[in-house]
Homo-oligomer: 344 residues x 2
Amino acid sequence: MNLKELAQTLGLSQTTVSRALNGYPEVSEATRQRVLQVAREHNYRPNTRAKGLATGLSMAIGHVIPMATKHEMVNPVFADFIAGAGEAYARHGYDMVLSVVEDGDEAQVYRDFKARASVDGVILHGPRMDDPRIPLLDEIGLPFAVHGRASGHTGAYTWLDVNNRSAFRRATDFLLDLGHRRIALVNGLEFMDFAHRRRAGFAEALAARKVPLDPALLRSDEMTEGYGYRAAADMLALSNPPTAFLVASIIVGLGVRRAVEEAGLVLGRDISVVIHDDALSYLQNGTDVPIFTATRSSVRDAGRRLAEMLIDKITNPGAAPKTALLEAELMVGRSTGPAPQRTR
Amino acid sequence: MNLKELAQTLGLSQTTVSRALNGYPEVSEATRQRVLQVAREHNYRPNTRAKGLATGLSMAIGHVIPMATKHEMVNPVFADFIAGAGEAYARHGYDMVLSVVEDGDEAQVYRDFKARASVDGVILHGPRMDDPRIPLLDEIGLPFAVHGRASGHTGAYTWLDVNNRSAFRRATDFLLDLGHRRIALVNGLEFMDFAHRRRAGFAEALAARKVPLDPALLRSDEMTEGYGYRAAADMLALSNPPTAFLVASIIVGLGVRRAVEEAGLVLGRDISVVIHDDALSYLQNGTDVPIFTATRSSVRDAGRRLAEMLIDKITNPGAAPKTALLEAELMVGRSTGPAPQRTR
DNA sequence: TCAGCTTTCCAAAGCGCTTCGAACGACGCC
DNA sequence: GGCGTCGTTCGAAGCGCTTTGGAAAGCTGA
């Protein structure tokens, strides 16, 4: 059933039917109701492509999923982010189109999106320090919103980020307050902007208390369980091991826990661990008392909000870019405790 | 730059340019080269919607992500499946469109996909026993391919599945061979087809050895870490606890391990655990020796293959539906060992 | 009654592409 | 020389929708 047929069965012109369906005022309430009624009966939906062609809008938003070629790793945080964004899109009638792409080929995908006019805007994931994609998108004129920020980029753009620096500063302070002095940072890849900021927050807190930062206690890699395990196992084997770990994600945290337990140590007594928790739906950090003490910020929520911000930007192209900086909650769980006395 | 402009700059008709770009034979090699050259220089890409409108194809494939309303849970396996499928789509010039939807509203999404002609086919995720979506898609005439199968559905359709029954039968046999007699099954939700088949394989193996199946050792729920923990903790507290666990996924397995270790038991010595491992990129089951003994089958690979199968079906609508049954590998890791003697 | 509004509806153009049917030379053949 | 054939190119219709610019009908007030 297309518009023409629908108009015929109604005995009206396409114009009137189209207007009735799209809420234009120049059609009487009576005919509008009649049109809506019959359209519903026939489960009529306007053809997306025809509508898009006529309006010049695609009512779709693109997400480019970069795939780390190194480990063929897909960021597990995506699933939840996209679930959140998807809710917002559904509410506003947008489709979500995904493009999985090898790490370097993103630029071409954005150019294609624009040239083929297949999306009205894109969400930029995993921004790096001084991310080249931001000027690129500005240049090709594709509206975008960034999940995170890109330090080093001057100029306004729409973004939503967790305050990673303050979160990790607070987490470090928390461990320092418990008496820990040898604190390890098991970070993500530090060319990623969020990891860079986390490290800054960590360093800041140590410096404020004049606690030296030991390079032997810094790790940075892709956030897998195996990485957490190896990093923690290595550092626990040091002659002067850390008493606490600050860990980039719950997945890495699971690896750290494995190493701790394999070393015969007890989490929350011998070794304290604070993670950053994205509140992933399938890896909840405990239901009652959190397993891990954590800086917490829902990535699904971030998806929802950032999608709204992008839609807003698309519908009001003139407005100044909006930004949102979310503070993470610091939730105390069972993985932290006072620093053990120096008897080990 | 659109076709009209491109044709003008070339001094050719749109027809000729279009034909040159789409590889039709009735254009001389000389002009074709010239057209390709100039098109490349201007980074020309045909407008997706216009092309789709003209051809009647959308060159897009839909994925509906059902979101369990109960726990707002998003299946973590998606990320990897989609990465695999995305590769195939990219290779064949298809876009991937995602729709996140609450558990019950899927039917409407499929109807919309068809009515709006926004996709050429869909991938069906997480089939249930006797899944109503299969007849629905048949009825509305939208090509589809199922990741998994739906027992109870007669009639041919395109699917790709892991042989869950044989995988779990073999895993159970493996544990039985090690002397285990009290084996617990920490399964997924059993109205899901895969979980149902796994349970069947498990029961089959026990029956073949005349080992009674104790209902107290059966659990079934959404596959989260917390579920694994609670299920294992509960069962370990029984007066007659299991010596081995057969676990639905690595995430659930992590929870089981937590419970085992919290009970002061050692994995692979006191308690054996076999998981099903989807080879998730961010939760690798060890790099060298697997942490968990596992039945293993890459879900990313499944995504890649099933996407190819669907594209094949879309391009050859006449052909009989293809199916693929993958055997999981049984990989021995460090989480299993001989059943402990009855001294505990 | 009639000009002047409103209200309600419509015909047709246009979005950017594909594709059918036809035109136009050039060529070979009888 | 006329005719069919082949290779190459083009004009124009059509995909399903929105939207502009009217037009017809109904109403108002002088």
